[in-house]
């Protein structure tokens, strides 16, 4: 084989390219929240089974990421942020991403059901369906509320973790879902306000483009207000406790204050300081979720009955 003939293989994918189809950064959030859901559940699980359950929940999340990249390959080619992904870069054919997504979906659902129970497996299957079909194929290109309803798929992992331990659904797991579900819109729309994105060219209706930045600011404030009762309410359930409640009260006060500032701001002011407030609100939103779920874990793991009520 000569150098010349080898050139046709220049763009062959490495293992890392296949791994990046699974959206590892999204997987890290799935792993963290699913782990908290499993740990705070009132049923103890064999540590190895728990590890396997979290791993397969993560693989299920990754599978839906691969299906998303297959379906959105045309959009990813247009947008600057996504055109280096393996499919638009020409390293992996779209059809391979689809096959990998379908195969990993099947494996993760069956393995989770076998390792834990049918409810958890069914929940994971529904989550993959929701992200790949309801969000990616249907909502994303149709409505500017795509992120609100689609955000549900990112909110399911703690419920799956809870179901893996208990085999069912409870008020606590529904509230954990509600916290992530209500948190997603302000988190994502704050990013939309300061990120120069090319969603328009890709034909994806984002709220900032379809209804304007003023409406987006209104939405951020409204969702932040609606989020607080769910986040604080979780503190009064069996998985809450004084530490969680203190964290929830402080973080929600800061979050509402940040959203209020965003709501009051004029676009010119934001442009002048390069969206300083919006950027810090986005960072705060990351800390918000991490601290809420971290506090739940602390309540569950504190020894000598110190955690919880």
């Amino acid at each position: 084989m000569t150098d010349f003939s080898a050139n046709q293989y220049e763009d062959e994918a490495s293992f890392g390219d296949y791994f990046s189809l699974l959206k590892p950064r999204v997987m890290s959030l799935v792993v963290f929240t699913a782990m908290v859901g499993l740990i705070v559940a009132p049923v103890s699980v064999n540590p190895f089974v728990a590890f396997t359950a979290i791993l397969f929940i993560a693989i299920g999340g990754g599978a839906s990421g691969a299906l998303n990249m297959w379906w959105d390959a045309d959009i990813d080619t247009v947008m600057k942020r996504t055109k280096t992904r393996p499919i638009p870069a020409g390293k992996i054919p779209a059809i391979e991403a689809r096959n990998l997504g379908v195969a990993l979906s099947g494996i993760s659902v069956v393995m989770l059901a076998l390792a834990t129970n049918i409810v958890a497996g069914a929940f994971l299957a529904f989550t993959i369906f929701f992200y790949a079909v309801v969000y990616t194929m249907w909502l994303k290109r149709w409505t500017p509320q795509n992120i609100v309803i689609g955000g549900a798929s990112g909110a399911f992992p703690p419920m799956i973790g809870w179901a893996a331990a208990t085999g069912g659904i409870a008020m606590e797991s529904v509230l954990m879902f509600a916290v992530i579900f209500m948190w997603t819109p302000p988190h994502f729309w704050a990013l939309c306000l300061f990120m120069k994105s090319d969603y328009d060219e890709a034909g994806v209706p984002m709220l900032t483009a379809t209804h304007g930045r003023r409406v987006t600011r209104n939405h951020i404030f409204a969702y932040t207000l609606l989020l607080a009762p769910f986040a604080i309410g979780l503190g009064f359930t069996s998985i809450g406790g004084p530490i969680y409640l203190a964290v929830a009260v402080v973080m929600n006060a800061l979050f509402i204050k940040g959203a209020w500032t965003i709501w009051k701001r004029k676009e010119d002011t934001s442009l002048d300081d390069e969206y300083k407030v919006e950027r810090s609100f986005f960072k705060l939103s990351l800390a918000y979720l991490f601290l809420h779920f971290g506090a739940l874990m602390v309540e569950a793991l504190l020894p000598f009955g110190l955690g919880g009520w």
Binding site: T2, D3, A6, Y9, S14, F15, G16, F48, T52, L55
Partner: protein, 54 residues
């Protein structure tokens, strides 16, 4: 024209082969570990039952 022994392509293929091998070994280990974790409590139960019936 000289032959290039190690092309970038070979590195990528190697990474895929090693990666896939690792994934398969991990999967086998997981299934084995799960079997042990699932069967052990049942075995203990059976042993306890046998001891009581004797």
């Amino acid at each position: 024209m000289s032959l290039v022994r190690e092309h970038e392509m070979h590195k990528r293929r190697k990474s895929r082969n090693i990666g896939l091998g690792g994934v398969l070994i991990l999967f086998v280990t997981l299934v084995f570990g799960l079997t042990i974790a699932k069967v052990s409590p049942l075995m203990n139960e059976v042993t306890a039952q046998n001891e009581t019936s004797q």
